[in-house]
């Protein structure tokens, strides 16, 4: 092992001068390797985790699979690199991975200052509220005067205070703890009526409860934590591929194209579907992909809604309500520019 890599190192040193010109050609490098290198979490339920057969799975893993499907027609042509939050941006910037899909919040400083660019939002996370089902509460606006369990000194606490003040509600009964485990225990012990933190974390905590069905997450999201994939800023072609992979999944859901009906949809008369599936037009060509790139994504991975339902939807133990992640046509904010 060592010898081989020492040789590689020596080769690397001699090629150092020529390498900088090849930086921009991620797609070429990926096609040469035969796989995409995808940075994922070390295990976040529903988003990316190794399943019982030791395969990476989850909503964010599906994005990497979709890119692999678009490029190689094979969703398994992905090499996963689990990354801690400390090394994720460096790993992307220095080329260890080609795309980062790792519960990363899109913020201005990350987008502009780290040499990486976010390509879209895969999941609108944000602070939510959980209550016991038998309390009968169905909206966060009914929570005035409730005993809310909050972790102290976090943005969670400030967000809750803002939300309650803005809606003229009473937060004087809040119960504050120093860490999340205590908050959860206090909520389970019945010391408070409401438990608040990021909605994906609420769902993950709930799935470990002895009786998850006795608790509901309210639909209101009161802070902005858009989670999305990101790529290096130096390759616009690769950026476009990543961006439109997600858009294709969202458009497919909007147009009702699923992994099951995608073959029938090839015959559709709807021009939007015909463009999406590559029956009409050459939309893959400018980004270096074949015309059926979106067909491959939908065929192998499915549309956004399918992926959502499969990993975090109502039939899973995680069970995060679609909420703001609904399509814009269904009252959410998931919206993708048209393919035309």
């Amino acid at each position: 092992m060592m010898k081989k890599h020492i040789v590689m190192l020596a080769a690397a040193a001699t090629l150092a001068t020529t390498a900088s010109t090849s930086m921009a050609q991620t797609l070429d490098a990926v096609e040469e390797n035969g796989y995409i290198q995808c940075g994922v979490t070390e295990g976040v339920p529903g988003f990316s985790f190794p399943d019982e057969n030791n395969n990476w799975t989850g909503l964010e893993v599906d994005f990497c699979k979709a890119m692999a499907a678009a490029i190689f027609d094979d969703p398994e042509a992905v090499r996963y690199t689990p990354l801690t939050s400390q090394v994720r941006f460096e790993s992307l910037a220095n080329g260890n991975i080609d795309v980062l899909s790792r519960t990363t919040t899109w913020t201005m400083s990350r987008d502009t200052d780290l040499g990486i660019s976010f390509t879209g939002t895969m999941f609108y996370d944000g602070q939510g509220f959980m209550v016991r089902e038998d309390s009968g509460v169905t909206s966060a606006l009914e929570l005035s005067g409730a005993a809310v369990c909050i972790e102290s000194g976090t943005t969670t606490e400030l967000n809750a205070a803002d939300y309650f003040a803005a809606n003229d509600m009473d937060l004087s009964n809040a119960v504050v703890f120093v860490n999340q485990d205590e908050v959860v225990q206090a909520y389970l012990d019945g010391r408070c009526d409401v438990f608040t933190t990021d909605s994906s974390a609420l769902a993950a905590e709930r799935s470990t409860f002895s009786d998850p069905d006795a608790h509901v997450i309210l639909p209101q999201i009161i802070s902005k934590e858009p989670l999305g994939p990101s790529v290096r800023s130096d390759d616009w072609q690769w950026f476009d591929i990543a961006k439109w992979t997600l858009f294709a999944m969202i458009n497919a859901e909007e147009l009702g194209v699923t992994s099951e009906n995608v073959d029938e949809m090839l015959e559709s008369d709807n021009p939007a579907i015909r463009r999406l599936l590559g029956v009409e037009g050459e939309f893959g060509e400018p980004i270096g992909l074949p015309t059926d790139w979106a067909y491959r994504i939908i065929k192998h991975v499915g549309n956004y809604g399918e992926s959502y339902e499969r990993h975090v939807g109502a039939d899973t133990d995680i069970n995060i309500p679609r909420g703001v992640n609904q399509l814009w046509t269904n009252g959410g904010i998931m919206y993708a520019p048209p393919i035309r």
Binding site: A13, E42, P45, E52, Q86, N96, S210
Partner: protein, 379 residues
């Protein structure tokens, strides 16, 4: 007068009576050892209460409230009830993940074969008076690393190639620590000898090396290896992240080993080497035959200490996303099929037990070696 014939004289010895009840048996032992004074009685009661206070919840968690079987195939659901203890079916279900990581299931025989070869070769090296010691040493240190690497990585002889990002679990923990141990020992000895050298260049280099690596936390070394190092090499031309981490660990541990060995060398009286020179032995022979063997024998506890620390330190590679044992345990508890209240705790108990097993084994072996080599100056 009384009849003289009635006078009773014993003709044989009376049988010895047992000691008074109060000085024998369990009650006496307790009185003597546990309740000999009011203060001792109090301590006994407090101690007993403490043991019960600790033991009962631990017993309940590990055994009484634990889940041992899952006949209906409910997976995480089977452990999701109020007051559940350890969920052993979770360990059972994900056991191969903890041992082999992401290694392709149909290729796992390669890891097993590698372990088998390794264990067979190690027996003559570790057991006293075993035959073939020399052959085994040559095979183990010179041939086995290559065999093991090609078995793990594949890519030749129609073995399917398995990239290092699929290596993981206990296998990877053992690989990292074994390479660390095998490399740091000789390098450490060389550094220790170099530090005592009269040649300023060698001495200076060794001191600089040791002091540099000992002054840096291992986490920093790992971050440097994983994040900083690729910035100096062009894209796509980087050595494997696992290789980088292993090299970092080897350099780091060599510096520690050097200081342990130097401690042993300093304990050898000057007369030993003087006597050796007087007998006409050269400097290298003096070191190899006289001082070094004695020095190493003195510092066996220190060396094993370093090995055990190294073995446990391997879990730090999880912070750069390498899936050694601890990381596989952590990742498995995020599986949505296995969400239950004690998923993390159960996994950590298992990982802790495996680490303890290996460390305790090393420690026992070191005591055995000390006793065996302690022929000269037993006290």
């Amino acid at each position: 007068m009384a009849d003289r014939s009635l006078t009773y004289v014993r003709t044989e010895m009376a049988e010895a009576l047992p000691p008074p009840k109060s000085t024998t048996g369990i009650s006496a032992w307790m009185r003597e050892n546990l309740f000999s004074s009011p203060a001792n009685s109090l301590l006994t009661i407090v101690g007993l209460a403490l043991i019960i206070w600790l033991a009962i919840p631990i017993w309940n968690f590990l055994v009484a409230d634990a889940v041992f079987s899952d006949p209906e195939g409910l997976r995480g659901e089977a452990c999701r009830f109020e007051g559940v203890g350890a969920c052993w079916i979770f360990i059972q279900a994900r056991f191969s993940f903890f041992i082999y990581g992401f290694y392709p299931p149909e290729e796992i025989w390669r890891i097993n074969l590698m372990f088998l070869i390794g264990v067979i070769l190690m027996i003559p090296l570790l057991a006293p008076r075993a035959p073939f010691t020399r052959t085994a040493a040559v095979l183990f240190f010179l041939v086995f690393p290559f065999v093991a690497f090609f078995l793990m990585a594949g890519g030749i002889l129609s073995l399917e190639s398995v990239p290092t990002n699929r290596w993981g679990g206990l296998t990877l923990t053992l690989i990292i620590s074994l390479i660390g141990i095998i490399v740091s020992m000789p390098v450490g000895i060389l550094l220790a000898l170099g530090r005592q050298s009269r040649l300023p260049v060698i001495k200076g280099f060794c001191i600089a090396f040791i002091e540099l690596w000992r002054a840096v936390p291992l986490i920093t070394v790992l971050f440097m290896a994983s994040v900083m190092f690729p910035l100096f090499t062009p894209q796509g031309m980087q050595p494997d992240v696992l290789l980088r981490a292993i090299i970092g660990i080897c350099l780091f541990e060599s510096a520690y080993m050097a200081e342990v060995v130097r401690g042993g060398l300093q304990a050898i009286p000057r007369g030993q080497s003087e006597a050796s020179f007087a007998l006409g032995l050269s400097k290298p022979k003096t070191v190899a035959l006289i001082t070094l063997p004695q020095a190493l024998k003195h510092v066996i506890p220190g060396i094993v200490n370093t090995f055990i620390a190294l073995f446990k330190d391997t879990s730090l590679v999880s912070i750069i996303g390498i899936f050694e044992l601890l990381n596989t345990v952590r990742a498995a508890s995020s599986d949505i099929a296995w969400q239950f209240p004690t998923d993390a705790v159960t996994g950590y108990i298992f990982a802790g037990f495996v680490f303890w097993l290996f460390c305790f084994g090393m420690s026992r072996y070191s005591i055995y070696m000390e006793n065996r080599l302690h022929t000269g100056h037993r006290r």
